[in-house]
Symmetry: C2
């Protein structure tokens, strides 16, 4: 039973890579499903949970609070509940004893004791902007390039913050992962196939 | 014809990974051979050339001179000659039209126009210290752990500096490479086999 976690810069193709890996390796795939499960568990609206996990919960947290002398971070009760529910959902996935690819959600940290294989996917900002423009995400298709860049930085900043809340190992730092894949110069399909070949050997599948 | 370049943190197992990759893929392998060729080309002693490339040439260069308003870096003539000879040796290797693995020497930058597949190998400092102690490098076997750590940091600092002298893309930054491999939690032999499987697909070998 193997767990592969994918953390990624926004627009790097990390989600596509995760989905393709799961297909190629015959692993279960988790992404948005985790938010759905957390929302059900808490009896909350899915969009609200998503928003808390991806934005609200982190806006009040200074980026490097681990290393500062600032006062302890105080989080509102519903936020803490959602974070705890997310941890439980991830642990339930790991307990199923089925191989899985999990995208995002700090799964690499939260499931650390299960020894996941931790991948980070990155790309140059220009390549990521192009990717956002090409894939025509309805959230972005009417946005200017400048707005896309702004969104991208905000989202990745929140990802970095949400990671710092659960680990001292920094988001995007190679020391925090087993493999960092840069998709700038390659097609995500081809990179996914190569990564699947890597994992078949590395995880002795 | 493919060129794979390996940059690495000292003690990460990057050289072993490079050697194993070359064996597994049937590629030529270059490492110390480049220094030998530069020394021959310049009619200089090999140890002197090695020392210039790995230490002396960089001690006078501020780490971020690209971004500073400092005066231009002035290098002594023999140093410039050695750097130029190194570039020519690398270009001669690329011109041979044979697939090769090249360890170090900023080959990823100096051969950029040949579109190398760029790998960076890293590991946590503790894992790298253990590796240095275990491999019993004669340069280190009588050194205390503290001295090994000191050496390690000095060597990697020089590597970062020597890279900054030829590129604005930073040494060790995932944005500068196609793949970053962390050997902390794995055996370099197994990681090499997985990486070879990755490259067979990625480079369509």
């Amino acid at each position: 039973m193997s767990i592969v976690t994918i953390a990624r810069q926004f627009g790097s193709g990390g989600r596509e890579l995760g989905k393709r890996l799961a297909d190629l390796l015959g692993f279960d795939y988790y992404d948005r499903e985790i938010i759905t499960a957390v929302a059900q568990k808490q009896g909350m609206d899915e969009d609200y949970v998503k928003n808390v996990l991806e934005n609200h919960a982190w806006n009040t947290v200074p980026l490097s609070f681990h290393h500062s002398f600032a006062a302890p971070v105080v989080m509102a009760e519903p936020q803490m509940g959602i974070l705890q529910a997310q941890r439980e959902v991830l642990e339930r996935i790991a307990a199923q004893d089925r191989s899985a690819v999990i995208v995002g959600r700090n799964a690499d940290v939260l499931l650390e004791k299960n020894g996941p294989f931790r991948i980070f996917v990155c790309a140059d900002e220009d390549a990521r902007v192009r990717r956002c423009q090409e894939r025509g995400d309805p959230r972005e298709e009417n946005l200017s390039e400048r707005a896309i860049r702004h969104n991208m930085r905000r989202i990745d900043k929140n990802r970095a913050k949400s990671r710092e809340f659960v680990s001292e190992k920094r988001w995007g730092d190679p020391a925090s992962y087993d493999l960092v894949i840069n998709t700038t110069d390659g097609d995500v399909k081809a990179i996914s196939e190569a990564t699947a070949a890597f994992l078949r050997v590395r995880l002795a599948l």
